[in-house]
């Protein structure tokens, strides 16, 4: 194979396993980048009053360290395993949408490169990974530093939500026959919970970032105190995302541990249903505890008390998991592999992090611990001791499956103990520093504060962590030089991924494996509790790779991602580049959508839930959109009446006219229903008529909106006028953008229909466009009611 063909193979791959490897490689690279940033931070704090790096560099280092580790290292490491393992573990040949999967990765890469390009041009983000407004506004952060941060986070968010939709559909709809939900491996369950968290938690921060972007680029007032803005807004939006994000980072590790411990205890997971339910419960509670990050912000005693109780409650399902893991090992035949070391290490370290978390769940205690090194210690016990240890367990456990090569167990144990020791030396003393009152995010400290000793110790430990990571690279390099000789089932595994070769063939399984129970592969090998093994299923005559439809490679994911990356980079440079990027994105998206339009293998995509993959995906996406618009509408409501100057809504909103446009949009939904019915029964004349009608009514609505906007501008209301103008135009504008997208989508279907390329078999395509269209109409009814009708 020539080098060009090799490169092209990776660029256009839609194989979930190769995409998983791409995530893995990128995540390890950014883990090194984030780790280097951490070591510079620790070196600067080695002693009082050091000047190894300048204060602005230091602020950039902790901002980029946090952002990188969360979005570019730990999340993508999870994604690597979701991608590689989930289809194998549920007995599928790929994910539901292989090209979307590639798109997620390439958009992620675009966002990651954009974020780190800020170092190369010398303006790295420096306002903290949490970017508290109003420090992030143009007034207090004039340079492009914050722009890099907010743009790349938006790009990364797009990638995450696309992946979330894809994995939810894959897990719900593509399980092998017999794999009921409660027979799914716990890792798959935790993946499912995580993807729901991603789909629902990213919209609030996206909205918060959009507000910030409009404030910085277009002079709106979302975070402008003088214009009536409330700085708690950003904190709420950020932590409504930020706390579920903690579970997005930790639940994959919990899932891995729940696979690794049973395998190496040679026992089933103790109380598997309870472990699953507690994971679901953690995800659910995760949305109700965000304000415990704001106990010092002054929310009042009632909110403090409510969020304290909610936060303490979340400790219960978390504790249950720990006890169930202990009970899994109890009475087992423990195989002390490196993966097992990491899983047991997670139990120990996460317990410490969880318990210190219970301490600052109490608001009075938090008033002493918040924003001190105590919290730094706590969150690293959770993020390294929890997430990273779990992910390392996964790396040692699944490395042979992913590469065909076992990692060296002897060196691996040394690597574990070095990390375990280095980590505890680095972070346990930070509890003391916190108790001694050392605040976070200070680039230096005076000798008199007495913080020198423990900072010195902590820095020594941090370099131990660095050495351990280097040793891991050595282990990986040694393994990869050896031939791919790992057996299919090196650990005597329990789940389906061990039933195929290491690494698996492109089509994963010659025959989709039968599923008899939880730990189905184990049962095939050892029988059920009475020792009865299931009768071997005869292989169908055409066993082998022949006749298996595999998704073909596609260049369009890279093109679309490139367009998005260019558009985001253009926002930092010149508007013409934005236009170019958007154009590339649109052309790419259309080509993407039409690539397999006439491919009969794509006509039906039914799955376990008796629902078309595409329809299920649209429902999940609309759930995410609900949170998007819900956040925008909630902001409008919260800011209602806070404008310090006019024009005010009651002076300017034209209810009769908007009633007309609302009626028009509702009627378009009716036409959409007629259009779908016509397509489904193959009535070409009517389908053209009603599709054209829907498009036309959509355009009329946009005309009304354009008229309204122009009228308002003439009346002296713009984005910049007051808080009302900012919230009104951004909310209705984003709704209008959705309508525009819907019109473009329906127009594309109409063109296909006119060219005779929309048949009965294409009805699902019209149906999902219709779902989107109805959703946009319903959102408008909410907007019309809340903005116009309720004074």
């Amino acid at each position: 194979m020539t080098r060009a063909a090799y490169l092209r193979g990776w660029l256009t791959t839609v194989d979930h396993k190769r995409i998983g490897l791409l995530y893995l490689g990128s995540a390890i690279f950014f883990l090194l980048v984030g780790g280097l940033e951490a070591l510079l931070i620790r070196a600067q704090l080695l002693q009082p009053n050091l000047a190894l790096v300048s204060p602005d560099t230091y602020n950039a280092l902790f901002t980029m360290h946090g952002t990188t580790m969360i979005f570019l290292a730990v999340m993508p490491l999870g994604n690597a395993f979701f991608n590689y393992m989930v289809p194998l573990m549920i007995g599928a040949r790929d994910v539901a949408f292989p090209r979307l999967n590639a798109l997620s990765y390439w958009i992620f890469l675009a966002g990651a490169l954009l974020l780190n390009a800020s170092w190369l041009v010398g303006t790295p983000p420096d306002a903290g990974w949490f970017g508290y407004a109003n420090l992030t506004t143009r007034q207090f952060s004039a340079g492009p530093n914050v722009d890099f941060w907010m743009l790349s986070l938006q790009v990364l968010g797009v990638s995450s939500v696309i992946a979330a939709v894809n994995f939810i559909v894959t897990i719900l709809n593509m399980r092998a026959p017999g794999m009921t939900l409660m027979r799914m491996p716990v890792f798959v369950w935790m993946t499912l919970v995580v993807q729901f968290l991603v789909a629902l938690a990213f919209p609030p921060i996206t909205v918060g970032l959009i507000f910030l972007m409009f404030d910085r680029f277009f002079g709106t007032h979302f975070y402008n105190v003088a214009a009536g803005g409330d700085l708690h807004l950003w904190q709420h939006l950020f932590w409504i995302f930020g706390h579920p994000e903690v579970y997005i980072l930790i639940l994959p590790a919990f899932g891995i541990v729940s696979e690794v411990l049973p395998t190496f205890s040679r026992k089933p997971l103790f109380g598997a249903p309870v472990v699953i339910y507690s994971g679901v419960l953690i995800g659910f509670f995760g949305f109700g505890v965000w304000s415990h990050h704001m106990f010092a912000a002054g929310m009042g005693p009632v909110a403090d008390a409510a969020f304290a109780i909610a936060t303490m409650l979340i400790a219960i399902p978390t504790g249950v998991k720990i006890f169930n893991w202990l009970a899994t090992m109890w009475g087992g035949h423990l195989q002390p592999t490196v993966a097992f070391h990491y899983a047991a290490g997670l139990i120990a370290l996460f317990t410490i992090g969880g318990l210190s978390g219970v301490m600052h769940a109490s608001p009075p205690v938090d008033l002493q611990q918040h924003d001190t090194y105590f919290v730094v210690a706590h969150m690293h016990y959770v993020m390294i001791g929890g997430s990273l240890f779990g992910l390392f367990a996964g790396l040692y456990y699944w490395w042979p499956k992913m590469t065909g090569r076992l990692l060296d167990e002897r060196l691996g144990k040394a690597q574990f103990w070095l990390l375990f020791a280095g980590f505890n030396v680095a972070f346990f003393p930070q509890h003391f520093l916190g108790a001694m009152g050392m605040p976070r995010r200070i680039y230096t400290y005076n000798e008199g504060a007495g913080w020198g000793l423990w900072n010195f110790v902590s820095t020594m430990g941090a370099f131990g962590i660095g050495l351990s990571v280097l040793l891991f690279l050595v282990i990986v390099a040694r393994a990869m030089r050896a031939p791919a000789a790992a057996p299919a089932d090196p650990w005597d595994g329990r789940t389906l991924e061990w039933r195929t070769s290491s690494p698996p063939p492109e089509h994963n399984f010659d025959v989709i494996p039968p599923v008899y129970s939880r730990d189905t592969f184990w049962r095939e090998k050892y029988g059920d509790r009475h020792g009865r093994t299931p009768p071997p299923r005869p292989d169908p005559p055409h066993a082998g790779a022949h006749g298996i439809h595999l998704p073909s490679p596609s260049l369009w994911p890279v093109v679309v991602a490139l367009g998005i990356g260019v558009a985001a980079a253009g926002a930092l440079t010149h508007v013409a580049i934005v236009v170019l990027g958007v154009a590339v994105t649109f052309v790419g998206a259309f080509a993407f959508a039409l690539e397999h339009h006439r491919n009969p293998a794509h006509a039906r995509q039914d799955g376990n839930l008796d629902t078309d993959h595409r329809k299920l995906a649209m429902w999940v996406f609309l759930g995410s959109e609900c949170f998007f618009f819900g956040t925008m509408i909630a902001t409008y409501m919260a800011y209602r009446g806070r404008s310090v100057i006019g024009p005010y809504p009651e002076e300017i909103l034209n209810i009769p006219l908007t009633t007309l446009s609302t009626f028009d949009l509702l009627m378009s939904s009716l036409l959409m229903v007629l259009a779908l019915a016509a397509v489904q029964r193959g009535d070409r004349r009517q389908s053209r008529l009603w599709l054209a009608g829907t498009v036309f009514f959509g355009l009329i609505f946009l005309g009304f909106q354009a008229y309204e906007f122009i009228h308002f501008v003439h009346e002296g209301l713009t984005l910049q006028t007051n808080l009302f103008g900012s919230t009104f135009f951004v909310l209705t504008g984003f709704h209008g953008a959705h309508v525009t997208l819907g019109v473009a989508w329906l127009a594309a279907l109409l063109v296909l229909d006119l060219r005779g390329q929309l048949t009965v078999a294409d009805a699902p395509k019209v149906e999902i466009a219709g779902l989107y269209w109805h959703f946009v109409d319903i959102v408008w009814i909410a907007i019309f009611t809340l903005l116009y009708l309720i004074p």
Partner: protein, 307 residues
């Protein structure tokens, strides 16, 4: 800065909860670690081949037990937590409380006593035994007022007003620092709270309300330099200048530290500061004035004389 030393009623309440939770978590931690350690030692390295261990799948009663047990422990934590939340965050100002408005600027603190007509910066005096109400306001970005031994912490949020109410137990000097990242010199935003006896506090208030002293000698030359340079645009010295962008200097010499707690207030440190504030405190709004060493010494002499 220790958070485990309580020198006010507020912090004793906090420390009470802190202690309960610490012991509760230590006990749970010890139980989990003992169980983990015992399991790892007891069941380690059985040979992989041979008979399988008993394939236990779960035990409902046991699992219910270890769901309820942590819930009970949490109850022990939650009750004192709620008590302290509602006791320490009361909606009404206690009668007889001394109000002090705290304003957090990038990167220094301003203290205003509305009832006493006193304005000062970076070092706040309060009387022992009297209830204090800090009223936190922010003119620029979010800061967090953190005085571990007296007042714990509360954010200073522009556009909002937060309160900390407490009564200090014993006279002394207590350090505090900004705890919310607020930009370039976040690390250089310390403060001191000086708890005085009631008599000392009265004396301090009287001194702060007095007009600025008239200097002599070097200090008089320093005053001249001060009065004709850019200093007057930002700083107040009663009778000399009325700038409001920087901290008031009327009684600068009475403070123990300079530049928001960065160095002791000695004439040498002050001279170094006025020569090169940009070099000494990154991002500081105060420009370098181009003073010669002699001029800087004179200005320092003047400022130090402003007791």
């Amino acid at each position: 800065m220790s958070t485990l030393v309580a020198r006010s009623d507020l912090n004793r309440s906090i420390l009470h909860v802190y202690t309960i939770i610490t012991w509760a978590t230590v006990v749970i931690g010890v139980i989990v670690f003992a169980a983990l350690g015992w399991i790892l030692l007891r069941y380690r390295s059985r040979p992989a081949g041979g008979a399988l261990p008993p394939q236990t799948r779960g035990h409902t009663l046991l699992e219910i037990a270890w769901t309820i047990a942590p819930a009970l422990v949490l109850l022990v934590i939650a009750i004192p937590t709620l008590q302290v939340i509602f006791r320490t965050q009361q909606a009404v100002t206690p009668s007889g409380a001394l109000q002090v408005t705290v304003r957090g600027y990038q990167w220094w603190w301003e203290f205003h006593y509305p009832t006493l007509d006193v304005l000062t910066a970076n070092e706040v005096h309060i009387p022992v035994g009297r209830t204090i109400e800090f009223r936190l306001e922010g003119p620029d970005v979010i800061h967090s007022f953190f005085v571990p031994q007296l007042a714990a912490k509360r954010d200073v949020v522009p556009g909002r007003v937060n309160f900390i109410t407490f009564t200090a137990d014993q006279p002394g000097e207590y350090w505090g620092q900004c705890a919310e990242f607020c930009g370039l010199s976040h690390a250089n935003m310390a403060l001191r709270v000086i708890v005085d006896t009631p008599e000392d506090f009265e004396r301090w208030v009287a001194a702060q309300r007095a007009p600025a002293v008239e200097p002599a000698g070097d200090a008089a030359r320093g005053k001249e330099i001060y009065a004709r340079s850019a200093c007057v645009g930002c700083h107040t010295i009663t009778g000399v200048s009325a700038g409001v962008l920087g901290p008031t200097l009327t009684h600068f010499g009475s403070r123990g530290t300079i530049a928001a707690g960065m160095w002791p207030n000695t004439p040498d440190n002050v001279a170094a500061w006025v020569r090169d504030p940009q070099g000494l405190k990154p991002g500081v709004k105060m420009p370098n004035l181009g003073l010669t060493p002699e001029q800087a010494r004179d200005v320092a002499a003047y400022l130090s004389a402003l007791k």
